[in-house]
Symmetry: C2
Subunit: 326 residues, 2 copies
């Protein structure tokens, strides 16, 4: 038997003892012993509100690192199962594959001692990268996808709404393209939390949207204001990337959309990441592991996960990591 966290229905999650899954005879799906799984805001959102891609009941967890019995080294997990043959899969956009099954959404994820995972989802960790930090490869890969979708170029000034763990990782992704990030963060509590990270990395945070016009803007926060301020905050021909889904029930006036028309703006979405993004993320993390450690707020056992969800939804904590099999 193995311990796992299972979301039974919206609002109802608990730890269970269940039989571990079995590897497939053809070797395509292997049994990963999970060493660490990080909690994502989306996990908390699933618990509170559900999610478009969630199929219940489900073991969540899509920011995963683990080992294979009898093999050396750790692996990070690209949390997708794509068909491999459609036009999206054939052109390195496998995150858009129409038959995509997301690990932790459509199939069981990493908040368990063991998980079944397609062999081709496993990416070996580069030397020097600690396994507990490797769980950050998936969110960083999603940030890399966002800055790439936004066609960020060297030297571009990039506005990022939100300076939580995702906003900070987005800043690192922007820097990886030799562009210049500026974060906007309105919460003074969060300012305190990220002070040392920003000092150490030299990243800029502003308490409100600056007056100058940016080349690119990206939201790492769910408020509808991020869309409105983003549209107004970019230059003619600039790009706003909808990285975070917006709070439901908001309404946008057509006059705001007409700004897209008059100033030839680009709005682009970003959802998930590709294997290539994961590999890029692992390389960046191995080269600059220093500040990543500061993104980690703390560790919690499977039993403590549910209690963390409200604070995660309120944006009060940085990354929380669940250590599993050691």
């Amino acid at each position: 038997m193995m311990k796992a966290l299972r979301l039974e229905s919206v609002g109802r999650v608990h730890t269970v003892e269940v039989p571990p899954p079995s590897a497939t005879a053809d070797g395509k799906e292997v049994l990963l012993t999970v060493t660490h799984c990080a909690l994502c805001r989306t996990d908390a959102k699933m618990w509170r509100h559900g999610h478009r891609d969630l199929e219940l009941p489900r073991i969540p967890g899509h920011e995963v690192c683990g080992i294979l019995e009898g093999e050396p080294g750790h692996y990070a997990v690209w949390p997708g199962v794509a068909c491999g043959v459609c036009p999206y899969c054939s052109s390195h956009m496998e995150n858009l594959c129409p038959s995509m099954k997301i690990i932790g959404f459509h199939r069981d994820g990493g908040l368990a001692e063991q998980m079944l995972v397609p062999r081709e989802c496993l990416l070996p960790l580069p030397p020097r990268l600690k396994p507990h930090l490797a769980v950050l490869a998936e969110p960083l890969a999603c940030c890399l996808n966002a800055v790439q979708q936004a066609k960020t170029r060297k030297g571009d000034r990039v506005l990022i709404f939100g300076a939580g763990p995702v906003g900070l990782m987005m800043s690192l992704a922007v820097r990886a393209l030799s562009a210049q990030p500026t974060m906007v963060e309105t919460s003074s509590t969060r300012w305190q939390k990220i002070k040392s990270f920003c000092e150490r990395t030299g990243l800029k945070v502003e308490p409100q949207t600056p007056m100058e016009a940016f080349d690119v803007a990206i939201n790492a926060a769910t408020s509808l204001d991020t869309f409105t301020h983003g549209i107004h905050g970019i230059k003619p021909g600039g790009c706003f990337c909808l990285f975070s889904g917006l709070d439901a029930k908001g309404l946008v006036p057509s006059s705001l959309l007409n700004e897209i028309h008059y100033r030839q703006l680009n709005i682009t979405g970003a959802y998930g990441c590709t294997r290539k993004n994961m590999r890029e993320a692992l390389e960046i993390m191995a080269s600059h592991p220093g500040p990543l450690e500061e993104l980690v707020e703390g560790f919690v056992g499977l039993e403590g996960v549910k209690e963390m969800f409200p604070a995660i939804l309120r944006g009060e904590v940085m990354k929380i990591i669940v250590p599993l099999s050691s």
Copy 2:
């Protein structure tokens, strides 16, 4: 003295006799004798509602063809005056120049017997292109800008909302990129008007948005539905181009914008055109003049323009051309 149509204030337009403008001594601004000027929906919109870029009082008209005294041949007019040195002007995006002055909006246009125009705005007509058709170069150039902003590729299936004169020209622009246009037109009156054009060109028109997913969608109509149906009508990773400004006072739910996030859609704006687009449009028109003649509903004198505006706003007429000096 010369005859001109002057928009004095929103809702108030009349013909006037005014002194013609004078060419500048340095030869940069020349006096064009206008032979033809077509009416655009935007001219009618300016009269009814005003426009973001309109400065009053104003002689409207931005789809212009004319001659220079003492020189052979006709010229089409790129209706913009850009600074020529900013980053936009330096990278063939002069339509986004921050100091852009649009002819017929910020400065006097072609609904007059003569107009002052920068020499560098004049584009000689290719042989074989009739001057009264050359007025269509500007709207076709705007369509070419739209399909290019939408990154339309060879073979792409492109959905176009609206089969008025602009929708039809958009279809020709899509075909110029070897992509496949499908128009959606809900008005049965318009179906009658475009029947012969569509038969002659083999263009497809549907009475409602087809169920299949398109690579690109473009609105050539102002209804907010074009945005909603456009978002739903494109594939993951596809592009919707806001070519037409949307009716004011509409509201879009954030759940619709979240489709951009979840399916990594691209929304792009298109506004005006570049000199390069104008040159491309003139070449296309010279190669395929046949169907263009069918876009012309009729001719009207300056005194008849005001009476046409309501029908243009209701989308009841194809292109109306004002012949001026002959």
